[in-house]
Amino acid sequence: MRVATWTDTESGRLVMDRRRLRRELRALELPARFTVPQLGEALARRRGRPLRLRPEGLPVDGLSGGLLVTESADIVAYQRNTTRVHQDHIICHEFGHLLAGHRTVDVRGLEAARLLAPHIDPAVIQRMLGRTCYAEHEESEAEHIAGMLMEHHITHWTPREEWIMPATASPELHRLLDTFGPGES
């Protein structure tokens, strides 16, 4: 079994900004606002592999989330024992790594896989990438992207409820809000 973490190959480069993130999201054919599952589906399409979200009772002093790469699918494991906003943020952190195109380095360690995914058979895990703290450049960038995703794009969690149009509203009204509201800012 192989376990992987994100590598910091280009230390000192600028983190992804809003403009580049919007470009990435447009390339994924996502609208200005979307849900966490919609982003997951778009990333899965790009990677050409199924991507599953899986809550786990992770040890609190270790990883709060991570991406496990198996032969058949990618699995984002995230902390079960926290609030939904926090869970979505943890998932978006992992998506942030994928959006930023971070490369991975294989790290071998059965224990590490058990910490992140105690209910997933270590034999099927090929690589693993996790969120713990964000001192490293790549971790810091993924955290930054998670913040931008949550603050500006994840519809359900936007702090500005004034700017959320219910999904049941007509497309005309959605376009009106996109045109007259403050947009993603």
Binding site: H89, E143, E151, E162, G181
Partner: protein, 397 residues
């Protein structure tokens, strides 16, 4: 002086609105409706700026065409209204059908070009180049057929575009329930358009009156333009309101919540200070409040092993004794639980059966914010916190 103030003020308001709408368009450059709105507003600014008497005269002096500014004013306002028709097209096309949108855009663009060409031809052909009429062009040439044809084309486009937006606003407003500032913005747009129609009515009466021999100077030169200015000002506010007001209100409420969270954030920070995003990245976060929520949740997660399961019962009992108001009870109990867990962590006493920290009632960021702000306030001010600490300290000893 009056016209300089009114038209100059309108031009300034339109320029501010344009700057905001342009910024919005650059944030989402693939949305053509945003560009159409920005164009509509800049044409309003050009139209009113050219109507300022000093500018009007300068245009005549620079070009040698006595009343060229009238063509600029009317051409700009007609273009503004046609750009407005353009963005409404982007709203109403079913499913954003690209072919229909392209046809609609071409139709509106052709209408705009045709209108400007016809107005220019009529202006050139009309005998209106003998003297500069900075404020009374329409009055001075009210009985000149070609000048009336020029004004007639303008008034036709102007009125039709305003009636179009009034009808759309009437259809949209009842459908918008929760977005109160969008609703208010559309209402301002509709009301402004109704007021602006007063210009068409006034000008039409003034021209007909002139042909009948009546002196309609006040109506033509003062009253009708006041309707246009007031209507345009209200419409510009309609373009600003849905985006600017919620943004300002949000900024104020976020600043308040940020302050409210600070005591709790400071108390928890020692758990894992490395989890605070570094200052370079923090400064790029447009919403530091969001980061503060995530950091608090990261730390509470790490604090969980130190939260004894029985603290809840102790805190509830003491809350009854201290008669903590029901509205603050849950937050005060949670604040007491956090205080107990922090002390246990300092003393390195993990709980044999750790409990979970509470979820907010509303599983949204707004709900999370409200809950954590209430807990933070209780953490520094509720008498329950020291009472629970004392009681549990006694139990430990």
């Amino acid at each position: 002086m009056h016209f300089a103030l009114v038209y100059g003020g309108m031009s300034a308001l339109a320029l501010v609105t344009f700057a905001w709408r342009l910024w919005r368009a650059t944030r989402d450059p693939r949305n053509p409706a945003l560009w159409a709105v920005a164009f509509a507003v800049i044409f309003v600014a050009i139209g009113f700026e050219a109507a300022v008497p000093r500018i009007y005269i300068e245009i005549a002096t620079l070009t040698g065409v006595a009343n060229l500014a009238s063509l600029v004013v009317y051409g700009s306002i007609a273009s503004a209204l046609l750009a407005q028709t353009m963005w409404t097209t982007f709203m109403v096309v079913p499913g954003g059908d690209h072919a229909v949108l392209r046809r609609g855009s071409l139709y509106t663009g052709a209408l705009a070009a045709g209108t400007l060409i016809v107005m220019t031809c009529l202006f050139v052909a009309a005998p209106v180049h003998d003297a500069v009429h900075a404020i009374d062009f329409d009055f001075s040439y009210a009985t000149v057929p070609l000048a009336d044809a020029f004004l007639g084309v303008y008034l036709l486009v102007y009125s039709a575009a305003l009636i179009h937006i009034i009808r759309l606003c009437r259809a949209w407003i009842p459908q918008i329930t929760d977005q109160r500032w969008l609703r208010r913005g559309l209402r301002l747009l509709g009301v402004g358009a109704v007021i602006a129609l007063g210009y068409s009515v006034g000008k039409t009466i003034a021209i007909v009156g002139a042909w009948c021999g009546a002196n309609m100077y006040q109506l033509n030169v003062t009253v009708a333009p006041e309707f246009a200015s007031l209507g345009s000002a209200v419409m510009l506010l309609g373009y600003l309101t849905p985006s600017v007001v919620p943004a300002l209100l949000g900024t104020v409420s976020r600043a308040r919540a940020h302050r409210q969270l600070r005591p709790l954030w400071t108390a928890l920070r020692d758990i894992a200070p490395e989890m605070v995003a570094d200052s370079a990245h923090r400064s790029r976060h447009r919403n530091r409040l969001y980061r503060r929520v995530i950091e608090i949740r990261d730390w509470l997660l790490r604090l969980r092993p130190y939260l004894p399961r029985d603290t809840d019962g102790v805190a509830a009992r003491l809350a009854d004794i201290l008669e903590v108001p029901p509205a603050h009870r849950d937050a005060a109990i949670e604040a007491a639980r956090i205080a107990v867990a922090l002390r246990a962590r300092r003393d390195n006493r993990p709980a044999p059966q750790p409990d979970n920290f509470r979820e907010p009632d509303q599983p949204t960021l707004a709900g999370e914010l409200a809950w954590l702000a209430a807990v933070a306030q209780a953490y520094v001010s509720s008498p329950l916190v020291p009472a629970v600490l004392a009681e549990t300290d006694h139990a430990v000893q």
